[in-house]
């Protein structure tokens, strides 16, 4: 079922890209900038989706699992203030300049602004060097998430390959128009499903008030910034969104606006979108500390997936291949001649001498 939903989603994304190709006018400017016709709402959704990425849903919940509610102040409210300010002071002016001078790429702007091919070339190399790992991280994260959601049915490398194929197809066919459409679709799905997951999980936990009361009783540090975060860190994080316009894809989304007026909605609604997406993610991460304690490192980033799985369908697998059990299960029950021999997490059960003895025989167990 999970796999079917994921496949349907990927097919839908592909279709959006392919349909957008029907509006293609056959010019470079139309391919790269949708002939500067993107209206306000699409501009908001594509900018927000491009800027926030999957981090704000999966990464934010993982980060708040590790560091508590302070993550919102650290990462979200800085973007809520600084990103719209950059759109206002830089974005609309670059849009006007781009339209006047016919710029299509960021490199063109920098090359002409300083009248230097060297600066253009340097920026080209720097952005390629920065973007390749940035894109690869997204592709890898997509693969890992698919692996987790499907309980290992889709290995991470196949998931990454599928993500690559879908993205390349809709980008190559749809150009920036297709990308803006897909970004809008994905961002809306992101917001709706994030809200839905939050509502379902909180309802299962007996309501937000009682769930937070439990966190306050057992893990009060999760609800304050405390010693785990320094005031100077809060200040330095405010500088990060200043870089928003230096992402070449965001720069290009700026250039796609139909009019300068098209920036009004993104500038005003950006902080609200951040609240809509980040608050549920941060709260779920904090609530997850009580529900699935002890996750460390990259495991913490999967907290949202684990919580969704935890209240979805319980799957009972009868299997003797231990590698499959290790990958798929959270709790293992070992039966020997019709009686429960051991029960618990895989790591615990698989090292139990009685289980080894029953599984491999007395001689091998020794």
């Amino acid at each position: 079922m999970t796999l079917a939903v994921i496949l349907a989603y990927l097919v839908l994304v592909l279709l959006i890209g392919l349909v957008s190709h029907r509006l293609f006018r056959g010019t470079g400017e139309d391919y790269f900038l949708a002939t500067r016709t993107i209206p306000s709402f699409l501009l908001l959704m594509s900018l927000f989706g491009t800027h926030m990425t999957a981090f704000s849903l999966l990464g934010a919940s993982g980060e708040s699992y590790r560091r508590g509610i302070g993550v919102f102040a650290l990462m979200a409210s800085s973007s809520a203030l600084v990103a719209p300010v950059v759109f206002y002071f830089v974005g609309i002016r670059l849009w006007a300049l781009g339209k006047r001078r016919g710029y299509i790429t960021q490199v063109q702007y920098f090359r002409e602004r300083w009248d230097s091919d060297g600066i253009g070339l340097l920026l080209f190399v720097v952005t390629i060097l920065l973007l390749v790992p940035y894109l690869l991280i997204g592709v890898m994260a997509g693969g890992i998430t698919l692996e987790q959601i499907t309980g290992g049915q889709v290995p991470a490398w196949i998931g990454s390959l599928a993500v690559c194929a879908v993205v390349m197809t809709y980008v190559v066919y749809g150009g920036l128009r297709g990308t803006a459409w897909v970004n809008t679709f994905q961002t809306l799905i992101f917001m709706i499903l994030g809200g839905l997951a939050f509502w379902l999980i909180v309802r299962e936990l007996g309501g937000l008030d009682s769930a937070l009361d439990r966190v306050a009783a057992h893990d009060p540090q999760a609800l304050v910034r405390g010693e785990g975060m320094r005031p100077l860190t809060l200040l330095t994080y405010a500088c990060i969104p200043l870089s928003v316009g230096m992402f070449p894809h965001i720069f290009m989304h700026w250039l796609t606006a139909r009019r300068a007026e098209s920036f009004r909605l993104p500038i005003v609604a950006y902080p609200i979108c951040i609240v809509v997406v980040w608050v549920p993610s941060v709260l779920l991460g904090v609530l997850g500390r009580g529900e699935v304690p002890g996750l460390e490192g990259p495991q913490a980033s999967s907290i949202l997936v684990r919580m969704i799985q935890a209240r979805g369908i319980t799957i009972c697998i009868i299997e003797h291949v231990m590698s499959v059990i290790r990958e798929l299960t959270q709790r293992v029950v070992v039966l020997d001649w019709g009686e429960v021999l051991a029960e618990g997490p895989y790591d615990e059960v698989s090292t139990d001498a009685r289980v080894i003895s029953a599984y491999l025989g007395e001689e091998d167990a020794c």
Binding site: L23, R25, T27, E29, D30, A34, T35, R36, T37, I38, P39, L42, I69, G70, F72, A73, A76, S77, S78, A80, L81, P84, V85, Y88, R93, W95, A96, K99, R100, R101, G102, R177, W181, L208, D209, L212, A216, P220, L223, V224, R225, G226, P231, L234, L235, A238, R259, A260, E261, F263, R264, I267, V268, A269, Y270, P271, I272, V275, V282, L283
Partner: protein
């Protein structure tokens, strides 16, 4: 003259917002306000405040003349999107 004053006031409010974001006085405050930890409620209200401030800025301090640009030759408008 009046619009220049309004612009300065609004840009000053932006600087004030930047300062207010750094809510050091709530650092270890574990109270609940509106059903959420105060450190989170404060920043949600802060974001809504920023949205309102940006609405005032785009209403009263929108840069003029940005749309008055000549489209370079060979660039035609598409009815798409």
């Amino acid at each position: 003259m009046r619009s220049a004053v309004v612009r300065r006031l609004l840009f000053g409010a932006l600087l004030l917002a930047f300062v207010l974001r750094h809510d050091l006085w709530l650092w270890n405050d574990s109270r609940f306000v509106l059903g959420l930890p105060v450190g989170l409620t404060y920043h949600i209200v802060f974001c809504i405040g920023v949205a309102l401030l940006m609405a005032l800025i785009v209403r009263f301090a929108w840069p003029t003349g940005l749309d008055d640009v000549t489209t370079p030759p060979g660039q035609e408008r598409s009815s798409g999107t």
